[in-house]
């Protein structure tokens, strides 16, 4: 069962909105609205989770090609390079990712498939979060002399645009958001394996849980079962690879 628009809007409302006078108190909890009775509650990992999603047909359009989204991920940042990326390059990359997410969500919020107030509100709210993340990363990046041009990651923007454009309904929009947020959380996980700058570490640590919460909001809205919604550990398996998603030049 898909979550209702009203319920989903409540999920993504800003904290201050909950105090707004006259806000309806919903009688049913979120879970009742979107979980099946026969779901698997066994522990899962992001790897298992995304494999399930991928098996369900999640694909991305890159240029004219449609490829599995998972092909764009990499096991871990440090494993694909001859040496671990520098703090500065990681922060610049993360900023580009955040700007791409902010821009793609802002665009997606204008699409017909996201015309419902709930989905539109989620995309808008989370776009705002990503914009704040990008700004914070830019501040830390300046301290590190990061090679950032403060632009969205072009490849990720292209991928997200293709996915959102291809989405035919609200659920597909939410599934794209779920995948993007899952990969964002995974990317910060990878970054924390190599970051040595304290500010960059702390900032990553404060952003990662919010990306994780975004994924839950999107996934819950799409009606995912608990085993697919929340993994046992956040793993770096689905990190966005800077070599596949280079920052704009």
């Amino acid at each position: 069962m898909e979550i209702s628009e009203h319920e989903f809007r409540r999920l993504v409302a800003d904290a201050d909105e909950q105090h707004r006078a006259g806000m309806e108190r919903l009688s049913a909890d979120l879970s009742d609205l979107h979980l099946d009775d026969d779901r698997d509650i066994s522990p899962t990992s992001r790897r298992q989770l995304l494999r399930r999603v991928a098996a369900g047909g999640a694909v991305v359009a890159v240029g004219t090609a449609v490829v599995p989204l998972l092909d764009l991920f990499t096991p871990a940042l440090a494993q694909t390079a001859t040496q671990p990326p520098s703090d500065a390059s990681l922060v610049a990359f993360a900023e580009s990712v955040e700007r791409a997410l902010a821009a793609s969500y802002a665009e997606a919020a204008t699409f017909a498939a996201a015309s419902g107030a709930a989905v539109k509100g989620a995309l808008t709210t989370f776009a705002g979060h990503h914009q704040q993340h990008a700004s914070a990363l830019a501040t830390v990046g300046a301290h590190l002399n990061a090679p950032s041009n403060h632009k969205p990651n072009p490849k990720l923007l292209d991928v997200a645009h293709g996915q959102f454009t291809a989405a035919r309904d609200q659920t597909q929009i939410l599934n794209v958001g779920f995948l993007l947020e899952t990969s964002a959380a995974s990317t910060y996980m990878s970054a924390l394996s190599t970051l040595t700058d304290g500010q960059a570490q702390k900032l990553s640590a404060s952003v990662l849980p919010v990306e994780s919460q975004h994924s839950v909001a999107f996934g819950a809205g799409a009606g995912k079962a608990i085993a697919d919604l929340v993994p046992t550990f956040i793993l770096p398996d689905h990190t966005l690879d800077p070599t596949k998603f280079p920052i704009a030049t």
Binding site: R10, L11, V12, D14, A15, Q18, D29, L30, S31, D32, L35, I41, S42, P43, S86, D87, A88, T125, G128, H129, Q132, H133, A136, T139, V140, H143, L144, Y188, M189, L192, S193, T194, L195, T196, D197, G198, Q199, Q201, K202, L203, S204, A205, S206, V207, L208, P209, V210, S212, Q213, H214, V216, A217, A220, I226, V230, P231, T232, F233, I234, L235
Partner: protein, 224 residues
């Protein structure tokens, strides 16, 4: 790259935790007198989540690293125990929420095992008992007063938020940066638990806004 971090604007809500301040657990501010006393005993050696400690290295695990890992295990053991008491009380009737409670308890057991493995791997001794401060200040009083599903859900939300805050605050305090990823991999899941439970308590899925909060983080001195 290592830098001092001086004069660098702080990431919103990402720094500045004062482990000597009031512990805020479950919306109830608790003066953790036991924690304060323990801080005095240990000279605050484990209170390292402040802004002044902005650089870590890739050195071998330190005693402080082990303290953090042991505390993390104690918190996960406490969480699993709290979930078990809620399961045993049978107050959560909504089937989907009940299943989530079981799933999340399994997560916490696995998190505890992961921290135990990390502690032992770092040369420390596992801490297999539930965190006494969390049990005494949060779980036991709230469990004793729990009567409804709403009570249970609110307690679990507060518990999960405390865990998420703690693991977030741990990042950047390790001598061995490999442990940053360890606590973040768990903290991100606790944050997901928060997001799942939040709507049932009338809160949004991102209750802290754009950045996770470290308010209410539990210090390592809680197991001293």
């Amino acid at each position: 790259m290592s830098t001092s971090g001086d004069n660098v604007p702080q990431a919103p809500k990402s720094t500045g935790v004062d482990r000597r301040r009031f512990l805020t657990l479950g919306g109830v501010s608790v003066l953790a007198t036991a924690v304060m006393a323990a801080c005095g005993k240990k000279g605050g050696s484990s209170s390292g989540a402040g802004t002044t400690e902005s650089t870590t290295s890739t050195t071998a695990p330190s005693p402080k690293d082990i303290d953090i890992l042991r505390t993390a295990q104690s918190l996960e053991v406490a969480a699993a125990a709290g979930y078990q008491k809620i399961i045993d009380a049978n107050v959560v009737k909504t089937s989907s929420l009940s299943d989530a409670v079981k799933a999340f308890q399994t997560h916490h057991k696995q998190h505890a095992q992961a921290f135990e493995n990390a502690t032992i791997g770092a040369g420390g001794e596992a801490y297999t008992q539930p965190n006494p401060v969390v049990m005494n200040q949060l779980l036991n009083p709230r469990l004793a007063a729990m009567k409804t599903e709403a009570d249970a859900t609110k307690l679990l939300y507060d518990l999960e938020h405390m865990l998420s805050a703690t693991f977030q605050s741990d990042v950047g305090t390790f001598s061995n940066i490999a442990f940053n990823q360890k606590v973040a991999s768990v903290g991100g899941v606790e944050a997901a638990h928060v997001a799942f439970l939040a709507p049932s308590t009338g809160k949004p899925t991102t209750p802290d806004g754009a950045f996770g909060s470290v308010d209410g983080a539990v210090p390592t001195t809680s197991i001293s």
